[in-house]
């Protein structure tokens, strides 16, 4: 948030989008649609987490390998505790028990078949319960977390509760640990460590990035991405649909289709024009001329046969009347009047003069004009009847023109609309010849004979135009439905397109900001991881450089700058299983020990599998430094880590786990192996429970075990101190064989001098210790019950002497 404000971009439109996206998809959509973002809801704040928890005890009953209740007591505070037991001894049940207690599940079960989960109950013990006591900083008393099952209840039915000191018991969730259990997961198991690297870089990224507290940003980024993607998708779909639609519309013979094509073809779609083409009348806009032409033709009135007949009859009648009037006085007067009127016009134009017809001199003058005007008027009157006949003939002649109301331009447009005009043109060609026929009778005959074919041609043309109109309507209507559908999605897509202008910069900014915050927060973890790796790598050729979280979305990954023998850019594939586990530990110990984690403990289950001894030394150092301010509990299945811890003098408590029959699991504080064997021997020698004959047989063997362990301890300390490689030291020890050779290795640093051991002991340590050595070596020989205790005492002195060797 502060970054957003620092960039001063909150004012920008997309700044608001970032803020809205942080609140969720609904808020983002509201912001985009211009509505006021709903006020941020005051979410139910989880009660503050109880911080600084150390484990005081873990008690497990009837769970997995543990039958009767068994409790692992721990010193609640920083320090290292090793819980050592063979596979199947029940130690993992303790580790799992704690995980299940707190999380309700176990990661190691998730990967496995359900039969694994179903076997959670211990077969030997009907009651099942898990309980752990934590000391939490700032609380006056311990915090007890428990998960209890009714008899026969399934795994999921366990009831978890927490009780802090004298407060009332409440749900486990009230501790506020749920999120931290995921992000700072204080449990690390061998399987989990292995799978984290196996599952690929994006899983690893998720596992590491979860501690950085970037979920909000990642989620907001997801919201923005989703909004952008949905809009881009809509836009793309509309674009694709547009192509299909245009293709389709090109085949639709309708001007509206062409208008839609034109409107949708440009870079910016003219959706209003598309809308207009859909809803508006066909005559509006371009491309409608054809429809108009077709409509014109479709509305043609072909010559009405009755009118044609009447016209023809009138022509004939007028013709007869003209012929009859030609012989009458009226006709003569009419003609004479015409001549006189011409002469008067001549006199008016040229003045007095000779007669232009007969040539009589001075015939035309004012008096003549007066006379003749009166004569012409008289003649006109006399010619009236003849004029009427002539006017009738003129009118009859024109009758044919009115019979066919055809306009030339509509014919031209009809041709453009694709109608066949051949027959019409031909018949019209004959028809219009009427204009050049002077004789009314002939004209009547012509009209009569040509009107039929013309009418036929016109009717055919009209019908063709009508059916063409119908066809075009049929083609348009379904296309119009598609256009309407497209228009709807296109409008949304275009609206979304404008949203994109804000969404894209918002996303880009958030991405950059998230990467910046991520790098800042991850840097100290990477640094710590690199430090741990330096301890764990030991003789490994693999150098670990920068560790970075990079990319986002599907390309997110953990970039490990791995160098093998100086060759850069090597992949994880070149690393051995042990190295991979070490790497995983390097990454996850820092995660689990971040100061913001409420847990002050980490529980590591079997980290030493597939580690060679040198790396175990490194691990001991790593655990030592982690235990400076954390409670580190490590479960391990063999003695490598305890041995390294003892040899390197790392302060640690070691607890041994053994499991008798019927899932009776026993825990005991362990001394180093030498002390433990001797203590066991003492217990056997002194126990009233064992028949003394048994003690007599067991005690020398246990003393020998202690002596052997002491010899090995000396050899290992000496040789490793000289800088010999671990592997060679181990080879020497395991190749030594029986006690005298081992003792020779310890005393003379020469395995071949076994024969000199007893004499050296006699001179240096005294005859009684030399005798004890012989008794231990022979092992198979019993001691008298009374001597058993004495043998243990001598053996203790002997081991002390051996351990004093440098």
């Amino acid at each position: 948030m502060s970054r957003l404000e620092a960039d001063g971009s909150v004012e920008e439109r997309w700044g608001g989008l970032v803020l809205a996206a942080l609140e969720g998809p609904a808020a983002l959509e509201a912001q985009l649609s211009g509505a006021d973002a709903t006020p941020r809801e005051a979410g139910v704040r989880p009660s503050p987490a109880r911080l600084g928890a150390f484990i005081q005890s873990i008690a497990v009953e009837g769970f997995r390998g543990i039958g009767p209740r068994q409790a692992l007591e721990l010193r609640p505070g920083p320090g290292l505790t090793l819980v050592v037991g063979r596979n199947g001894s029940g130690k993992s049940s303790l580790a799992e028990g704690l995980e299940v207690l707190l999380t309700g599940d176990s990661l190691r079960w998730k990967e496995r078949a359900s039969v694994w989960r179903e076997g959670w109950r211990n077969l030997h013990h009907p009651r099942a319960s898990l309980r752990a006591t934590f000391l939490v900083e700032g609380e006056r008393g311990p915090c007890v977390v428990s998960r209890l099952w009714e008899d026969e209840a399934p795994f999921e039915a366990g009831v978890a509760s927490a009780q802090v000191h004298d407060e009332a018991p409440s749900a486990l969730e009230s501790l506020g640990w749920a999120a931290a259990l995921r992000t700072h997961r204080p449990f690390l198991s061998y399987n989990e460590l292995g799978s984290l690297l196996d599952e690929g870089p994006s899983k690893l990224y998720d596992a590491l990035s979860s501690i950085l507290g970037l979920e909000d940003l990642v989620e907001a980024l997801g919201v923005l991405q989703e909004a952008r993607r949905s809009r881009e998708k809509a836009l793309k779909e509309a674009t694709d649909a547009r192509e299909r639609l245009v293709e389709r519309l090109r085949g639709v013979d309708d001007p509206r289709a062409q208008r839609v094509v034109a409107a949708a073809s440009g870079k910016e779609w003219d959706l209003d024009a598309v809308d207009a083409a859909l809803g508006g009348p066909a005559s509006a806009g371009a491309g409608t001329a054809e429809i108009d032409a077709l409509r014109g033709i479709a509305g043609l009135e072909p010559p009405d046969p009755a009118r044609v007949g009447a016209a023809v009859a009138e022509m004939r009648g007028a013709g007869v009347a003209v012929a009859a009037a030609r012989e009458t006085a009226a006709a003569r007067s009419r003609d004479a009047a015409a001549i006189l009127e011409g002469a008067l016009q001549f006199h008016a134009a040229h003045g007095d003069g000779d007669c232009p017809v007969c040539g009589r001199k001075g015939a035309l003058d004012g008096a003549w004009s007066q006379r003749q005007k009166a004569a012409a008027a008289r003649l006109r009157e006399a010619a009236m009847e003849a004029d009427a006949v002539h006017r009738r003939a003129e009118a009859a002649r024109r009758l044919w023109e009115g019979l066919v109301p055809l306009r030339a331009d509509s014919i031209v447009r009809a041709a453009e609309a694709g109608l066949d005009l051949g027959a019409l043109v031909k018949s019209l060609g004959s028809w219009v010849e009427a204009g050049s026929i002077a004789d009314l009778g002939a004209l009547a005959d012509h009209v009569e004979s040509t009107s039929g074919p013309l009418r036929d041609a016109m009717v055919r043309l009209r019908d063709a135009a009508r059916s063409e109109l119908g066809r075009r309507e049929d083609a348009w209507r379904p296309a119009a439905v598609e256009v309407a559908a497209w228009l709807k999605s296109a409008r949304e897509a275009v609206r979304g397109g404008t949203d994109l202008k804000g969404l894209k910069p918002a996303e880009a900014w958030l991405k950059k900001a998230a990467a910046g915050i991520r790098d800042d927060r991850f840097a100290p973890i990477a640094e710590k991881a690199a430090g741990i790796w330096e301890h764990l790598r030991q003789q490994s050729h693999v150098e670990l450089g920068k560790i970075q979280l990079t990319g986002e979305g599907t390309r997110r990954r953990v970039a490990l700058d791995v160098t093998v023998d100086g060759v850069e850019g090597a992949a994880l594939g070149v690393m051995s299983q042990g190295e991979l586990h070490s790497l995983a530990l390097s990454l996850f110990v820092p995660r689990a020990t971040l100061p913001e984690s409420p847990f002050r403990f980490i529980v590591i289950d079997d980290p030493v599998q597939s580690m060679d001894p040198a790396r175990v030394d490194g691990l001991a150092r790593v655990l030592e430094s982690a235990s400076a301010d954390r409670q580190v509990v490590v479960f391990t299945h063999d003695d490598r880590l305890p041995e390294a811890v003892r040899r390197l003098d790392v302060a640690a408590e070691i607890v041994e786990v053994t499991r008798r029959d019927a899932s009776v699991v026993e825990l005991r504080r362990a001394l180093d192996p030498v002390g433990r064997y001797l203590e066991d021997a003492l217990a056997v020698a002194g126990t009233a429970d064992l028949p003394s004959s048994a003690a007599a047989r067991v005690v020398p063997g246990l003393c020998r075990l202690g002596l052997e362990a002491a010899c090995m301890e000396v050899v290992r300390r000496r040789r490793l101190g000289r800088g010999e490689p671990h592997a060679e030291v181990e080879r020497a020890l395991s190749g030594a064989g029986r006690l005298p050779r081992l003792a020779a290795l310890a005393i003379f640093d020469d395995v071949e001098r076994g024969g000199d051991v007893v004499s050296r002991l006699q001179s240096e340590a005294g005859p009684s210790l030399a005798d004890a050595f012989r008794q231990c070596d022979e092992g198979g020989r019993d001691v008298q019950p009374a001597a058993a205790l004495d043998l243990v005492r001598q053996a203790s002195k002997l081991t002390a002497w051996v351990r004093g060797l440098s």
Binding site: R659, E679, T687
Partner: protein, 132 residues
Amino acid sequence: MTDDGEPGELLGMADRLLRRADPATAGLWPRASALLALRALEESLHRLWERRALDLRSCSMRTQLICLRSYLDDTPLAARAGHAWSALSRACHHHPYELAPTSGELHAWFSVVSELARRVGLPSETPPPGRS
């Protein structure tokens, strides 16, 4: 070599250590019972040699176990006995980084030892005529 315990008795003690939960023997029972069982196994062999009037007791156990294959009319059992001996013997010596055996492992070895002890104790284990 003093008193040789009854192999069955030794094994019985080992088995009790294993089965009975007892704070006094918590944690020490794996090695202790292994020691007892190993003794029971070796004792069974000694009894077999005595019965056959063979002086093999001073030979190494390796030699004795090889001989067992010829003198016990049950080669598979002899082989299992050999295996159980080396496993028990390993448990009775300190080896770097190795923890004590589990009760499951011990049970399996005990059953071999017990079978061997029973076979050695049976009258039928007397050699068939003409064989000795």
